[in-house]
């Protein structure tokens, strides 16, 4: 009797949770905790901290999953506006940390508004497209693009190249999925390529250095190239099956930089080899695949675009992070989703999954 009741209660609480997605996420999180344990040399405090981050993020995911989609739509515009105002505040009064102005002190705590924008921008754009669904014209794409580039420009100025790229890509995915014509996209690519020299001239020296380093890490082996060289050595020396959990020499002898945050993939790769890497990629693919299924089944333009954008942005995190650690992309501060140490990105990530679950599990909206 009590069993059935608690079971019912459980079902009630988890009725908006997509168990398939949750299970996959939990698997990757477990891999993350194990890797972090090794990366920190068995530092249980850090592992516990990360577990707490995960639990908090899961709670947020649960909360978001319970928000009906209508509410979410209504929230899109206010969140975006608030985020934009906060970004402007950062530009004006933000705290400078490590040469970048990213944080805003709001009295109780410090927040990083650019993190909020990762969700707010696609939400806003999807909302916009949904609103103008029946009459999509070129003008709408231009407006949507403006909605994207305004915050992106502010974040780039902080400067935060990693976040800017992620926001631009999440916005681009909305544009792409909303049916931006190939002609315009090709035009954009050409325009983008044409503006590369301009972009290059606007980039900070350290950013240029990172790009240069990508082409020849050895030219600055102890400086900017050090990260890439050491992480490539870690990955390469892992071989087929890796050196075994907690046996990575690059990791445990401190040759790897940022080994519990942005470069944690090198730790995993050194200890589990190409077999481990492939399994992890498959695991990520499963999550991405589920996200795409959710997007494909979504009933409205808003939910489709949001689900697609969140899924593809998740993929972008993975690709940019691993590409950087494996030495095929420049070093930009993008964490490995669900694995890198840190609460902020964990929350952002699971917030996105919460939205996906809400889209999948709530009764479909029907166009009236």
């Amino acid at each position: 009797m009590s069993m059935t009741r608690s079971l019912r209660l459980w079902h009630y609480f988890t009725r908006y949770i997509d168990s398939f997605l949750l299970f996959s996420i939990l698997l990757v999180m477990a891999v993350g905790l194990a890797t972090l344990y090794s990366a920190t040399g068995g530092n249980l405090t850090r592992v516990t901290n990360q577990a707490v981050n995960m639990v908090a993020a899961l709670v947020i995911m649960w909360l978001v999953a319970n928000i009906p989609l209508q509410h979410m739509m209504r929230l899109a515009l206010p969140i975006y506006v608030v985020g934009l105002i906060l970004l402007i505040c950062v530009t004006l009064f933000g705290e400078i940390n490590n040469g970048a102005r990213r944080w805003l002190d709001i009295g109780i705590t410090r927040i990083q508004p650019s993190e909020l924008m990762k969700i707010a921008v696609p939400l806003m754009m999807a909302w916009y497209f949904d609103k103008h669904e029946t009459t999509l014209r070129t003008r709408d794409y231009v407006v949507a693009t403006m909605l994207l580039f305004l915050p992106a420009a502010l974040i780039l100025r902080q400067p935060d190249l990693g976040t800017t790229l992620l926001i631009i890509s999440s916005g681009f995915y909305v544009l792409f999925l909303a049916g931006l014509s190939w002609r315009i996209m090709i035009g954009l690519v050409i325009a983008g390529a044409g503006s590369l020299p301009l972009l290059w001239s606007m980039m900070h020296d350290y950013q240029k250095q990172r790009v240069m380093t990508l082409f020849d890490p050895a030219q600055d082996a102890l400086g900017a190239g050090y990260h890439t060289i050491q992480s490539s050595i870690a990955i390469g020396s892992g071989g087929i099956i890796g050196k075994g959990w907690q046996n990575g020499t690059q990791t445990h002898l401190d040759f790897l930089p940022e080994k519990s945050t942005d470069f944690i993939f090198a730790v995993f790769s050194e200890e589990f080899g190409i077999v481990g890497n492939s399994l992890l990629l498959v695991l990520y693919l499963v999550i991405i695949g589920r996200g795409m299924v959710i997007a494909a089944n979504a009933s409205t333009q808003f939910t489709r675009l949001i689900a697609g954008s969140i899924t593809l942005t998740f993929f972008t995190y993975i690709f940019v992070n691993i590409g950087m650690v494996a030495g095929i992309l420049p070093v930009v501060g993008v964490p490995l989703p669900l694995i890198s140490y840190g609460g902020t990105s964990m929350v952002t990530m699971l917030l996105g999954f919460g939205i996906l679950m809400s889209i999948q599990m709530h009764p479909k909206l029907v166009k009236t």
């Binding site: 792409f176 999925l177 390469g236 071989g239 690059q250 333009q301 690709f319």
Partner: protein, 635 residues
């Protein structure tokens, strides 16, 4: 109607979306494949290379310096040993202002002026990344005091190192030699000999003397530790250890006591003495005066001391016994006499009447005897006892330069003896060919005359004279003179005794030899030129005096008047062996710039003989062993 259109729009929109989503999925798969390809490249194709890189990252090989072998004298007295001590070191180029650091260090640990001077010299001689000691031999208290303040001195380290020490200091320093810090030249030589790997971690190398020539034996084989290090180079653990093999211990033929007596016998005079056991070539004493303290060189000599030693008019760094060349003077005569007898140009009964000079037939040129009114009737015996010049002028003329250089060359004059230390001079025994080669001139009969009394072009080192004397002493056997008697393998304890090496045998007529040997005994008896030195010897003492003329002094050297005059004086020479019947010691003595030839050199030989044969100590030496471990504070 409107509604259907909307639905159719809706459907086409959905279709459009799913189309785009499918493209995205393809895009995702494609990029994941790129990642996989990259993994395949790194972890499969290039795995070996990266594995090696990772190993190179973590494993560093650290050399363990072997203990240098000891050097002992023939009686087991220590001549060179090691002690371990703490040094205070840093790499000057890694500090922003090393002078300031030294000043700062001086506030907690005494740093003397000499330490600073030595440090500066070391800096000039070493490469940029070498760790150099500002202080050596720190006391326990100094180590503790630095340790308590070490946080103030990043980059400055206390290191435990092995040091070389020469307990006898100045005694036999030219023979024992010294080790010094490895310089560029040493490095080049090591590289050429493919010996560089063995010297990783070694800072010092033998520079002269036995320390140099037996470097291979003394150094040992470096050990290695494979160490796992982290990215900061900190030692995590030792993976494997190959222990070093200590250098071998050398026992020299030298007798420290005899050496000491010989050195003391010189007093303040400059000169050289070489004593050889004629029965096996053992070098018993090898003196070059003045000497220097080998200990000064070990940790780098400072400018002041270096300047004092290197620019001294007395040339204390010059090994006179090995490298100093002097006209042998009358010590040449016994060999001339033997040549005359052996080549049948003279018989024991042949007598000349010495008027005090010799005149070449057909020439007015007179060659003077040292005794102006002559020695009267002189046979070969008397010619040696009184050192008659005229006898040998005539003999030289009759022998001719070819016979002289050929016959006397067999006694080792004019070529290196092959002693086991480096830098030996070959002296000069002139010949027709040599003059043509060197001076592009033909040989004149007049050139030969002064050769007969050991002057002219003749030049010999004290070592060569001792070697030649030993051949007369042992009746014709040439043993290679050597300094190392025994090598003990430090690992196995195995002892390698060096067998006497016979270079060649001279087949001399025993009768002729007896004539010369008797005459040499006569030299130390009443009427002989070294009669005074022979008085009261409890053994038969054979010898020959000599004087070597100082020909010229370099122009333009700024010596003060007295010094010039002093240095124009002749050198005194003496060769000897005893007991004359069955000699156990043969020697040569050279004393530079003394006014009266034989009187200076022979008494030194006598003191050495007295100790070697009778164990008798000279009057000025107390009856106690030579001071063993004197401290070497040298400033």
């Amino acid at each position: 109607m409107k509604r259907t259109i909307e639905i159719r729009d809706h459907l086409s929109e959905l279709h459009h979306f799913q189309n785009r989503l499918a493209i995205s999925a393809g895009f995702v798969l494609f990029l994941f494949l790129i990642l996989f390809a990259r993994f395949f490249y790194l972890q499969v194709l290039e795995s070996t290379r990266y594995h090696t890189l990772a190993e190179a990252n973590r494993i560093s090989i650290s050399p363990i310096v072997p203990n240098r072998g000891l050097i002992l004298d023939r009686n087991g007295n220590v001549l060179a040993q090691n002690y371990s001590a703490y040094t205070l070191e840093f790499v000057p180029s890694k500090l922003a202002d090393f002078e300031a650091t030294i000043n700062e260090l001086a506030t907690i640990i005494p740093i003397k002026e000499i330490d600073r001077r030595r440090f500066k010299k070391l800096m000039e001689e070493s490469n940029k990344f070498e760790s150099l000691p500002i202080r050596t031999r720190l006391s326990e208290e100094e180590v503790a005091r630095f340790a308590a303040n070490s946080y103030r001195f990043p980059g400055v380290e206390i290191k435990a190192r092995l040091f070389r020490q020469y307990p006898k200091g100045k005694s036999a320093s030219h023979v024992i030699g010294y080790i010094g810090r490895i310089n560029h030249k040493d490095l080049a030589r090591l590289e050429a000999n493919k010996g560089l790997a063995n010297y990783k971690g070694t800072n010092h190398i033998g520079k002269i003397g036995v320390e140099q020539s037996y470097e291979k034996e003394l150094h040992g084989i470096a050990g290695f530790e494979k160490i796992e290090t982290d990215s900061a180079g900190r030692k995590i653990r030792v993976l494997s250890r190959t222990p070093p093999v200590s250098g071998n211990n050398l026992t020299l033929t030298l007798d420290t006591k005899l050496q000491e007596i010989a050195e003391r016998a010189f007093g303040d005079r400059r000169g050289a003495l070489v004593a050889i056991n004629p029965n096996n070539g053992d070098v018993l004493a090898f003196v070059s005066k003045p000497g220097f303290d080998s200990n000064l060189f070990v940790n780098g000599i400072d400018f002041k001391n270096w300047d004092r030693l290197n620019n001294s008019i007395d040339r204390p760094l010059n090994n006179r016994a090995l490298r100093g060349v002097y006209p042998p003077g009358s010590t040449f005569k016994p060999f001339m006499a033997l040549a005359g007898l052996e080549l049948n140009l003279r018989t024991p009964g042949y007598v000349i009447n010495d008027p005090g000079y010799y005149q070449l037939p057909g020439s007015n040129n007179r060659y003077r005897d040292w005794k102006a009114d002559g020695h009267g009737k002189v046979n070969v015996h008397k010619s040696l006892v009184v050192s008659c010049d005229t006898y040998y002028y005539e003999l030289a003329n009759e022998l001719g330069i070819d016979n002289i250089s050929k016959f006397i060359g067999r006694f080792g004059l004019g070529k290196k003896t092959g002693i086991d230390i480096e830098g030996e001079a070959s002296g000069l025994l002139p010949s027709r060919e040599w003059k043509m080669r060197r001076h592009k001139q033909k040989w004149w009969p007049g050139d030969t005359i002064s050769i007969g009394i050991g002057q002219g072009y003749n030049l010999a080192t004290p070592l060569q004279l001792a070697f030649a004397t030993s051949i007369i002493a042992n009746k014709g056997t040439a043993f290679r003179p050597h300094l190392v008697k025994r090598i003990q393998n430090s690992k196995t304890g195995e002892i390698f005794e060096r067998a006497p090496q016979i270079l060649y045998q001279l087949n001399l007529n025993p009768d002729n030899l007896a004539i010369v040997r008797n005459a040499l005994i006569g030299v130390t008896k009443t009427g002989g030129t070294a009669a005074k030195a022979g008085v009261g010897a409890g053994y038969t003492f054979a010898g020959k005096t000599g004087t070597s003329q100082v020909i010229s002094i370099k122009q333009g050297e700024k010596y003060d008047e007295d010094a010039i005059n002093e240095r124009h004086r002749d050198h005194a020479l003496f060769i000897a062996y005893a007991p004359a019947e069955n000699p156990s010691i043969a020697l040569s003595v050279l004393v530079e710039n003394v006014s009266h030839g034989s009187s200076a050199a022979a008494p030194i030989a006598r003191q050495v003989m007295d100790y070697a044969l009778l164990g008798k100590l000279p009057a000025n030496m107390e009856e106690k062993p030579v001071d063993g471990n004197r401290e070497n504070e040298h400033d």
